[in-house]
């Protein structure tokens, strides 16, 4: 049909057509008016705002506070330790798998024995990692020794994997003179420069959770600037994700394009606060997107899934200079620490169920045994060996002398200043004049 339309109209039509904004075009020409062009656009025209182009929408629509479905959780083994069909995972050699399982057993036994020691009054304090052995060991196994760890306080398994001995753990807990921390920290506050594991700082544990998160980002930035094949890794819990530091650190890591892994141990409890009182989002994994960070939710009690997730995340972080958020779902089987009795705020049945039915050790053991790499005999050999080693370690640690008096004053600064040297002299003089007022077991 031939139409007579004005040149202006025609030009407008062509513009709209070329901009691919048109869904349909209707040219209406009642005989008594000039041509009208009705254009039905498929997407509204975009406009620039600071930060980039956004499309407009004529509908008033609020993004829902939560997705209809929760973010799915990646797992490789089922509840009984059988490998799921179609599961994608990074293959693990026999050597690694056996070391992983042995270290998980060692961690569990170490925790048991130290916990008992505290209950007997031989240690002042202890915090166990029961139920989170897979997170501890599998994540450590997937990292390289050059990756720098910024722990919270429930990850001694990472140190264990890297070679910290039971004796070294015991020395720190007893605060004796062989402790690398020179007796300055409470038990469980391990650190090792050699193993690239930053000293657990007390403030993380009690008043300033997630303090090390921004620090990890800074360290990652430094690794990036030095072009090292390594990343920074930091751990925190569901409770820790509420701290201001968490938000600053994630935001910054994204902006700075820092190669850092944020591993959240979502174990359901922050001392007595359940996650329903901690946040109203779908856990911690969805917070990654808010900061422009790639994230994944993993079954934290599945050693293979943890291993694969951390392995892949590490590759991405280093290759692409980006942070990654990993939310490992798990359950805190033990009390928060020896200063807590969790049966006061949760049922003993719940704890028992997670301990027996969803135990990360038994699931992984089933898989390792199914490959013919483990047996009952190996299990009992390992357990008796660890028990002997642990008891010996404690015996030696208890007997070892406490740190020397000069360690009260050293390391405050690089070089002790005059005022501290004077104070040390004063203390020594006071001890000499009044020996009965001072403990006799502190070497001078």
């Amino acid at each position: 049909m031939r139409l007579a339309i004005s040149a202006t109209t025609y030009r407008m039509v062509l513009l709209l057509r070329d901009s691919h904004q048109i869904q349909s075009l209707v040219i209406v020409t009642p005989w008594w008016i000039r041509s009208q062009v009705l254009v039905h656009t498929k997407t509204p025209i975009v406009m620039d705002f600071p930060g980039g182009k956004v499309a407009f929408t004529p509908e008033i629509h609020f993004i829902s506070e939560s997705n209809e479905e929760r973010v799915p959780c990646y797992r490789v083994l089922d509840d009984n330790g059988q490998q799921l069909t179609n599961s994608q995972f990074v293959p693990v050699s026999k050597e690694i798998a056996v070391k992983m399982y042995s270290d998980m057993v060692t961690l569990q036994m170490m925790d048991n024995i130290f916990y008992e020691a505290q209950r007997q009054g031989r240690l002042s304090f202890y915090a166990t990692a029961f139920g989170e052995e897979a997170i501890n060991i599998a994540s450590a196994a997937a990292l390289s020794p050059d990756d720098v760890i910024f722990p919270q306080y429930r990850e001694p398994g990472v140190l264990l994997w890297r070679g910290f001995t039971l004796q070294e753990f015991a020395n720190q807990c007893f605060g004796n003179k062989s402790d690398y921390g020179k007796g300055r920290q409470m038990p469980v506050h391990y650190g090792s420069n050699k193993l690239n594991y930053f000293t657990v700082s007390a403030t993380i544990a009690y008043s300033l959770l997630t303090q090390l998160l921004p620090n990890a980002v800074g360290a990652a930035y430094s690794l990036k600037m030095d072009e090292k094949d390594a990343c920074a890794v930091t751990f925190f819990g569901d409770g820790g994700s509420s701290e201001g530091d968490f938000h600053a650190a994630l935001n910054f890591a994204a902006v700075m394009e820092a190669p850092v892994l944020f591993i959240c141990r979502n174990n359901g409890w922050a001392i007595s606060t359940p996650t329903s009182d901690q946040f109203r989002s779908d856990g911690v994994v969805v917070k990654g997107r808010a900061y422009g960070i790639r994230s994944i939710r993993v079954d934290g009690n599945d050693a293979l899934a943890m291993y694969s997730a951390v392995h892949e995340a590490r590759e991405m972080a280093i290759r692409e200079h980006r942070p990654i958020l990993i939310e490992a779902l798990t359950y805190r089987v033990g009390h928060h620490s020896t200063s807590d009795d969790s049966t006061r705020y949760r049922s003993a049945d719940e704890i028992e169920w997670w301990n027996k039915a969803r135990n990360p050790l038994s699931r992984f053991r089933t898989w390792v045994e199914s490959n013919g790499w483990w047996s009952d005999e190996a299990e009992s050999d390992l357990r008796s060996k660890i028990k002997k080693e642990m008891l010996e370690a404690i015996r030696v640690a208890e007997k070892t002398e406490k740190p020397n008096l000069n360690h009260m004053f050293s390391d405050v600064y690089d070089v002790p200043p005059l005022n501290l040297r004077e104070q040390e002299l004063l203390v020594r003089q006071a001890i000499k004049s009044h020996p009965q007022d001072y403990p006799s077991d502190v070497p001078l």
Partner: protein, 387 residues
């Protein structure tokens, strides 16, 4: 108009910088006929007795001193980098980091998002990993948002890790009162930070102080809190050739005797040093010879110099801009009473800011801060010249 006479007498170590403004005031007074015979005599005797470095002497503003110090340290050591709000593109909120972004690029002059807690934590993390950050706070009032990282992540780390983790970081920025910025932007943090073992706290006054102390701070393996003063940024001071050299460095923990005297010791830091020097001039008119000590280092405090001075003069007036309770002055008074009690001839005097949040109105702000007259009166009280 004559620029600046550097009336520096080597013997007495007395350096009285006469700024352009002051000459302007003096010049005006001469025109108005306001010059008294005594003041004219004093000026003339000053000119005659002191050795003057006339036309060849160099001057530098505190701003340029800080800028050149950071520049030189960054060029000497590739691990040094600067981070803070507005330090790059904007050339620095107070232009202290001017030109650095162009020279060193965005990897070493890093503009941070607005989260003091975030970027301070990140700076400390970078220091853990071996870099040497210079973290700028737009003012130290904002450092309260980051104080956990300064104290718990930085100051205590070396001790808690038994020497395994040292933190070679510098936190710098303007501290204390400016002009008309109100209660939340005027607090002095010298006492807070100086009470923490593991930190070093420095407070420069002149351009030479600024250069030497900032260089020392950047080179130091311990965390350093570097308290500048916004109103001093634009002030010019004479600067020696030695101080302009790129290897120049001042020792941390040593105070400087700005003016020697024998009747009363006045200790202070930062902007108040200028006020104390003016007060010393006024006291000299009345026959009181005041010794002015520029602390330079709040932690470690140079107790030896302070006590030696008090043992010489037998009287102490200690001045600061911050709140009086638990302040730097309180620590100095305690130190002097503990160590030089029998040498004191008069009770120690403390001059500090008023014990109120800083008011905004100009007249109230002036009343809330120590002025030259307050220092003069305190010195006279210590000398039993007045009530």
């Amino acid at each position: 108009m004559i620029r600046l006479l550097d009336l520096r007498s080597e013997k007495s170590g007395y350096c009285f910088p006469v700024s352009e403004k002051m000459w302007g005031i003096l010049g005006r007074r001469a025109v108005d006929g306001g010059f008294s015979a005594s003041s004219f005599r004093r000026m003339r005797s000053g000119l005659v007795s002191a050795r003057s470095y006339a036309a060849g002497s160099k001057e530098m503003t505190v701003r340029d001193a800080l800028n050149s110090a950071i520049d030189e340290e960054m060029s000497a050591d590739p691990k040094v980098f600067v981070m803070g709000e507005e330090v790059g593109q904007y050339q620095g909120a107070y232009k202290i980091t001017k030109g650095l972004l162009e020279k060193y690029g965005p990897e070493r002059v890093y503009d941070t998002p607005i989260t003091e807690a975030g970027f301070t934590g990140i700076g400390v993390g970078a220091a853990y990993a071996g870099l040497k950050p210079v973290v700028e706070f737009m003012t130290f009032n904002f450092s309260m948002q980051a104080i956990d990282h300064i104290i718990n992540s930085a100051a205590k780390s070396n001790y808690m890790s038994a020497g395994q983790i040292n933190v070679p970081i510098v936190f710098r920025g303007p501290n204390g009162a400016a002009a008309g910025v109100g209660a939340q932007h005027s607090q002095c943090y010298a006492a807070w930070y100086a009470s923490v073992p593991g930190l070093k706290v420095l407070a420069p006054y002149s351009a030479e102080d600024a250069r030497g102390l900032l260089k020392a701070a950047i080179r130091d393996p311990d965390p350093v809190v570097f308290l500048e003063n916004e109103l001093l940024y634009g002030e010019s001071f004479p600067i020696s050739e030695e101080a302009l050299d790129s290897s120049f460095c001042l020792p941390i923990g040593k105070a400087k005797i700005e003016r020697e005297g024998k009747d009363v010791t006045i200790t202070t830091f930062s902007k108040m040093v200028g006020f104390a020097l003016k007060a010393a001039e006024k006291l000299a008119e009345e026959g009181i010879s005041a010794e002015v000590i520029n602390l330079r280092s709040i932690r470690p405090l140079d107790r030896a110099t302070i006590n030696a001075s008090v043992r010489k003069t037998s009287r102490l007036v200690t001045v600061e801009e911050g709140f009086p309770q638990h302040g730097v002055c309180a620590e100095i008074c305690a130190s002097v009473v503990e160590e030089s009690f029998s040498y004191l001839d008069a009770p120690v005097e403390r001059i500090a800011g008023a014990d109120v949040p800083m008011p905004y109105a100009a007249n109230l702000e002036r009343l809330a801060l120590p002025q030259v007259e307050d220092i003069v009166r305190a010195a006279k009280r210590a000398c039993f010249r007045s009530k």
